[in-house]
């Protein structure tokens, strides 16, 4: 769907800003907002490019750089931290070869850290796009990424 078609689903009011940015970003296969997108949103909401860009840059879920098809968010809040987030991040690195803030060369994965994801009773946790993965350990992590890679190869 082109960006304009997404914008039309919303009334052109500023209180729709974040909902619009989410929808436009989710529509991009590389999970980010292009300069062109931001310009279109600005003109649709009758505001300036800088105003929209400032909003995009403030919120950590938005990106102005291309990201992987799968955005991984590892919770590093105090509870997950205590239940060993650090080993989880190392374990993910072993599986997909990237660290926090990096995108894999095949543009499949981007690894990010996140504040509390609200699944503290099942720590440590991570999200991959919209899905939450709980009570992680090295075996689970290996299986999760193996199955994603298998699915991608079979496409």
């Amino acid at each position: 769907m082109d960006t304009m078609a997404i914008l039309k689903k919303f009334t052109p009011e500023k209180d729709n800003m974040l909902n619009i940015l989410h929808a436009v970003q989710d529509n991009n296969p590389q999970n980010y907002l292009t300069t062109e997108d931001i310009k279109l949103v600005a003109s649709y909401l009758n505001t300036t490019y800088s105003a929209v860009y400032g909003v995009v840059k403030y919120y950590s879920m938005f990106s102005v750089k291309p990201r992987g098809k799968y955005v991984i968010r590892v919770c590093k809040s105090p509870v997950c931290h205590m239940m060993s987030t650090k080993t989880i991040i190392d374990e993910i690195k072993n599986n997909i070869g990237i660290g926090i803030g990096e995108t894999s060369a095949d543009l499949l994965f981007t690894l990010e850290s996140s504040e509390c994801l609200g699944h503290c009773a099942k720590a440590p946790v991570m999200m991959i796009n919209d899905k939450v993965f709980k009570e992680l350990d090295s075996v689970k992590i290996k299986n999760i990424f193996q199955s994603i890679k298998m699915n991608e190869q079979n496409k």
């Binding site: 500023k14 209180d15 729709n16 800003m17 974040l18 909902n19 940015l21 989410h22 909401l45 400032g54 909003v55 403030y58 919120y59 950590s60 879920m61 938005f62 968010r73 590093k76 809040s77 105090p78 509870v79 931290h81 205590m82 239940m83 996140s114 504040e115 509390c116 994801l117 609200g118 699944h119 503290c120 009773a121 099942k122 720590a123 999200m127 919209d130 899905k131 939450v132």
Partner: protein, 414 residues
Amino acid sequence: MITEKRIALKNAGKYNASDINEYIKIGGYKNVEKALQINPGEIIDLVIDAKLRGRGGAGFPTGLKNKFTNEAVCERCVQKYLVCNADEGEPGTFKDRIIMEQDPHVLLEGMIIAAYAIGATKGYIYIRGEYTESIKMLRIAVQQASEKGFLGKNIFNSGFNFGIEIKLGAGSYLCGEELTLLESIEGKRGYPRIKPPFPAEKGLFGMPTLINNVETFSHLPYIIEYGAEHYRAMGTPNSPGTKIFTISGDVNKPGYYETTLGITLRQLIYDFGGGIKNNKNIKAVLLGGAAGTFVDESVLDTPMGYDTLKEKGAVLGSGAIMVLSEERSVFDMTYSVLEFFKHESCGKCVPCRIGTTQLVRLMNEAKNNSGNRKEILNQLIYEADYMAKNSLCPLGQSPIMPLRSIKQFFENQF
């Protein structure tokens, strides 16, 4: 055997939350129908009488907030707004998520009742973007409630109109602070506003706004059904009713438990939480999240209430209970908490922007120089106290809470 007392979670898990017909079958929306036959002023008095306090963390009397918003007068007030704070981000807290995923309709009911009481015609639910399942369930619930006529025009033929829109956050802890949340709904960067004016006077788009937490709204249908006296009979005199506690960390059965206030931490950890893993001892409990307080075993038998905990130098906060066994390091946990604040400081005001960075710098110094840690703890408290006195919003005012509690309970283990 101790059991839960459920109000906000009364129907959670008892019906298929994506089917409003199932909810109606178990009595759903009958409390809205009942409320809309009562005079709005009487509902405000009822909530004051029930002594319900805000479940988001601050514990402000909900009834008074209703009253202030209802009485707000301003020259250019076109309408009043109702906002639900579903931006649950306090570390260790996931109570609102459970309500929204398992019983989104109780929240909608509470919002309709509150909106009617204060005369608001438009409502917003501001929910964090990471809560994908909650967002999905709320969208379905709002859609179905609108189709049934529980939202929209002339609800239950009362002449009252009310609609709800869902607004997504995008990864900012600070947007859970009420005035910052309003900025965010308005489509701006999440920067806090100077207060006063409070939202009751000048809130969303400059209009009088009532903003409450998910759990707080979810108590209203129950209060309508059973009355203030029944509600007040539960809990403690200053903290009546129930609270959802979310227990995490080194316990055998981490999870969410709703129970009457006044319960002790020992009961929560040992009876509900199943005790400490591997029969270890407790070293510390972090109560109320990052913006909370560390306590030791001496607080285990204190009744959990807003004022009773305050007397001990602790807070109830959001109801988060993070348990650290004897094998954990309090220093390490403090480090994680202070890094969290550094990451989430928005940068608008200098004391918080510089201060949160300084606190982490001091922690690094302590890490590399363990002999001098007591002195560094004093420095941390000095800095955090300065921040608390000079920062614009609750974020900069928060780091002093865990730090002061470390000094009080764990100075020798820091």
